[in-house]
Amino acid sequence: MGDLLSTTSRPAVTRDFALWAATAAWCVLAYVVAAACFFLLTRANTDWGSPEWGSVAVGPVAIVAHSALGFAAGRHLPSRFTAPLFAIAMYWVQGLALFGLASWTGYLSPLGSEIASTVFYDESPDTVVLPQIIWFLGLAAVALSSVAVGRQRTTASWITLAVAAVVAVVPAVVLTRTPVEAVNARGTPVPYEPACEEGEILVCVHPAYEMALPGTMEVVDDLVAPLVDVPGAPSRAEQRPEDPRIRPDGTLVYSLYGAFHLLNANTGYGFRDYMEQDLAHALVAGPSGRIPWEAGAYGAGGSCRKPEGPRGEAQRVVAGWLIFRTGNYDSTHSMAFMEATNGELCPASEDAIERFDALEAAEWQAWLRKNYAALRAGELTLEDLP
């Protein structure tokens, strides 16, 4: 009752702000609690690295800005449709700023940028965090000032609105002039000691991914086994934030990004599926990591009908055979990343895989020793396969 008596005499705008502050506080509290739970889970499950506090700090400030804008919209457009329409509009606005428009709008969205961070690069000192925080505080100030102007049109409230607008516009200009670029372009490499294990060849992963080392080594061993002692075959494998390929120094580089980040129930792919496709692709591709690709290979008159097949088909056949040997080959999805038309092989290529697999070990070993370099160079066609 004491609270009630002491507050009812306050101006309407004060009561407005109290209501807004309480709601924003609950939302910020929810965000902080959820973030804390995930921080605890992450701390319990990884020994490597630490959180990027700058990016974390943007979240609560963005929530304050969202709630202030929503509050102002509700005050200025009093309708039962304002709330849902505002929520939908905000969803699209921040999505468009991030994905749909030119890259210069990316940092105006609280989602930061569409490019996820990586353990290989350090983003600090992050020049974006402070302007983003000021931008969202400015937005909140503009929204609340507009509410104040709506309640009492005094000189002070107009001046506050003008100052808030300046506070919002200045960092917005800075953010739009900051190019959204990949973290490996703007960050500095983080030094680390890779975690390695010796199998058919030495397999190394970033220490943050150490728990994935046994599974990775198993897949690498299965795929590399036929290539041991073949000239030009990799002598070690290392996880790097690069496209899978064999470097000139004989290192098979691969990324675990797809294996962990694209992995979900919707794709139907598992860790091993991604790894096998990435590695088999790298093992037959040239130094650039690309397999030649030919549009329109299927259909009437397509190059599938030609005896030599489309360009790069011999490489895809050997990649398919490497996966086939592991017992995990599925013609409908095993070649999805192999730059094959529709993610599938020509019918003749499926036969070629089975022919290759029917060879004696000594035969395919001899063939690989003789032809592996030419295969990777893209010089072989289906007709050159045994």
């Binding site: 507050t7 209501l19 959820a34 490597w48 509050f71």
Partner: protein, 107 residues
């Protein structure tokens, strides 16, 4: 929660100037009255689902956790901002769909 808030604000009530005390009293009152008090577990669940959905499966990385928490704003930001005037609920001032204050007592 409201008890904890009151405990935190008590020293301010004693020491701060009257204007600040009144502002805090109003905040405290609205904080306790807010429907968010009851919706809080739902807000946490929405956030947790959104964050979890963005995390890689089978591995925990700081970079990914931070990115996913930040990315959860794509849903939670608009949810937090879904405000409107609440005349339909019987109050004269701006209220919220997400966390509106409770309906006033009718006699």
């Amino acid at each position: 929660m409201s008890v904890a808030l009151r405990a935190m604000l008590t020293p301010v009530y004693v020491l701060a100037p009257r204007k600040v005390r009144v502002g805090l009293a109003m905040f405290s009152m609205e904080f306790r009255r807010s429907l968010c008090l009851w919706l809080f577990p739902v807000l946490i669940l929405v956030l947790a689902w959104t964050v979890y959905d963005g995390l890689p499966i089978g591995i925990w990385l700081w970079t990914e956790t931070v990115w996913s928490i930040q990315y959860s704003l794509i849903f939670f930001g608009p949810l937090a901002g879904g405000g409107r005037r609440g005349r339909r609920l019987g109050s004269a001032d701006g209220t919220w769909v997400t966390c509106s204050p409770p309906r006033p007592v009718r006699r």
